[in-house]
Amino acid sequence: MNTSAGGKDLIGEDLGKGRKMAYGRWRFLMLSIAFLLILLNPFLNYFWHVHFIQGWYQSFGFGSLWFVSPLEGLESLLLTKSLYLPSLIGMAIPVLIALFLGRVFCSWICPVSFLLELFDRVRRLIGRKKFLKNRLLVAKRVLWFTLLAEIILSMILGVPLFVFLSPPGLIGREIMVVVFFRTLALEGGILLLIVLLDLLTRRFFCRTFCPLGGLLAFLGRKRSLRVHVDQANCTQCGLCAKSCPMGLLPNSGEGASAYCWNCGECLDSCRHDALHFQWQQNGYTVSVTDQRS
């Protein structure tokens, strides 16, 4: 107990550098909590029959407050051509979050993101590297193609495709299957593939091949929360571009593009205080840091 507490304090001092807690650490904490939630949840359901928290990030029940993943809900809606109110209400909060904050589900909650983040941290620790390389780059626009292909293919087949193979949902399902039926479902191999692809390029799957990410990015095109570059402070050192898990160039304003998922890695990496989160309301920019109400 004593040693671990001491160790934690040391790390805190080492990374803090007199600044507030970095976004990266907040994000990792958030990802861990989100992952822990779906990890513990089947155990609670199975062994203690506590059904207060239910499901995983395909449909998440928190008491009587339900969330439905927007892509899954949209496909179900498109394919059956019928509206179902609980499903629509369940989609409302995720859609609103995506509209205002952008793809934050991907970077702050998604369990795949947690696994890849963990993998990244382990790789950095083993390789003693500060930044990981991207070896294979795919055009960022492919994301929209993925989203379209997914929807069109689902409509051709008449069944939602991604719902079953969606990696964010797959993790929850695998954990549930292990706890409930004591087996592993075959499709878990997809997760392994995604983690292996991360060796090639950081967030290779998330960047271009996640239809859910595509939909959230599409919803977040006109989002309010964006990464803003202060050109006066920016020295074009390129640290932010190296640290960006999505392979964007925040220093040339790509933090405001649809592909940015507002993780805040670039803000942490910047040594010249040139990058900030900004809240834009009707074209009028309000900086998050000066907190005006």
Binding site: T80, L153, F181
Partner: protein, 197 residues
Amino acid sequence: MQRRTFLKLLGTGLTGLSFLPGPAGAKLLQSPVATNRLRPPGAVPEEIFAARCIRCGRCVEVCPYRSIIMLDIRAGIHAGTPLVEVEKIPCYLCMKCVEVCPTGSLERIQQQDTRMGLAVINRFHCVAWLGTILCRTCYDKCPYAEKAIRLDQLRPVIDASACTGCGICTSACPVAAGDDRKAINIEPLYARQKVSG
């Protein structure tokens, strides 16, 4: 290869995958619903079930008897959908699953309105009908005894107007007729209905 050619090939390949000849193609599209393989209570007809269900697995997670299983990738396009294998663990009609379904694939219905299927007695296998043993296990186990299963001259008879298709009779039936069948089986009649409108 040109990009256009590649995309064309990719599209054709993916679409054609489901029309593969032989068992591979058929299995990818075939519904898993069959005798003694039923959807949970309140399920919409099989015609639209796969389109409506988002495979969130909440019904599987909430089921206290582990009656509902989740199909894996071998079920093709129906992978991830819930299924009740009644001869193993039947549905005890606790109606918890219908309350958690977020897409309305399982409609919120009352216990007595559940129509997962219809119990059908095979008179060539049922020992009561054959007259070898005085067995009335299905009658004793039926949650709607005297309504769904009556005894007619000590032989069980099903009433379709009250049978919920829960499969408790099937799992209790002592006669194994091979191939996951018993002397009383549940036929998913209502799952084969067409959607009106």
